[in-house]
Symmetry: C2
Amino acid sequence: MLFIADNLQITRPSVARAFASGDAHFFIELARSMERAGANAIDINTGPLPKNPQKAMAFFVNAVQEGCSLPLCLDTVNQIAMEEGLAMARHGRPIINGVSLEPSRFRAMAGLARRFDADIIAYLLTQEGRVPTDSDTRLALAANLFANLCDEGILPERIIIDPICPPLAWNEGPAQARAVLETLRLLPDVLNFPIRTVAGLSNLTSGLRAPQKARTAFQNAYIALLCKAGLSLALLDIFCTEPLNTARACTALLKPGVFSWDVF
Amino acid sequence: MLFIADNLQITRPSVARAFASGDAHFFIELARSMERAGANAIDINTGPLPKNPQKAMAFFVNAVQEGCSLPLCLDTVNQIAMEEGLAMARHGRPIINGVSLEPSRFRAMAGLARRFDADIIAYLLTQEGRVPTDSDTRLALAANLFANLCDEGILPERIIIDPICPPLAWNEGPAQARAVLETLRLLPDVLNFPIRTVAGLSNLTSGLRAPQKARTAFQNAYIALLCKAGLSLALLDIFCTEPLNTARACTALLKPGVFSWDVF
């Protein structure tokens, strides 16, 4: 399992403040810390960027690429910002985060993925943007989305499926969490391709005032189950070391080959 | 998943000292703490007790039963001590830990299990006491042991299979850890019975000077995988809260029904 750091989110007050004041140093240092903490890629979640999308994305990308040498995961619905980020990305292949079956979004993002030969995260959401309630619906959406993206000329190996992991605090949260595991397990067979997958872990324990030890325990438990189910990439708080270490240990345990304690 | 505390082990220096000096208070307090920490049963690992086995076992059982109201898991190869412990057990059904296909041990322990209608842990070891190297051998041993115990008149629901989880530090440790998971997953089908299972977690990270965070991470990862594979009982250090909480979270996540953060 590889890790995409989700710490650069415009919804975080410190990030919003640093962005508002044009504090590039903040983002250079943040990127440096995320790489040091073990990130394999950096999610740049800019929000919709209604004003100056190009300039804003350029600011983030410049700072992050100055601070580290990791690939970028560009996380915005703004097509202009996405295009700017893709054009500027210079460390490995960038990831578009992301596309769904929603028609306008599909056209925009699939087009960019093809043009830039980028990786692209495909959300298993309905055309109306709703989270499906079971694994059968998720698998049907995956087959549909995968076929549509391939029809657009995108290589299967560029596609990364996100089965959408909802908060446990939702009514059907735990059942959904199990549906996500089932979906991950079955996807390669359903698509007849060793598809890559991603899941956002930070969502899992959001929305309820659970005690910290409960949050940590559920993240530890779920990341191990995701690993067992074959998840390729986890999008998470890279500074939250316990689930990170659990995932590393799980990966080392489950992978045949030379074993080492030294996976941290 | 339920927890058997393995903290009362004669190999631990503090336990050995308290036993040597006849310090019942130490064991009463230890039992109290183990119950408070969330143990569902207490393993009393006395070693072979070459001298005064009856008196020694009576000392342990009296103290533990004074300190808590949990069932006992009697962990000795000494038949006389085992018999004494079973005769004295008064909180729920005691567990014999345990039996294997080794002929003399099988006869002694199976006989006691039948006489006292006790639960009995059945180790998947070869007749020569060796740890099997793969899951096929483990499953064959399980089928053999299960059939032999049933032939002795022991009820299937009294039998608890221990697939033997070796230290990761062993040459084949990680492959064995995976074989244990596979064995747990397949056992109910192979035996055609919803068999209960137990695994010792403390073993996993013993025998190598791995850093503490590595030990914790591997225990977190493996206990989640054991839970997913259907393990009924974990034998572990009940004061090591992280893997315990991971197991609780995992059990809550995987079990359909009412969900609560409040599982700790």
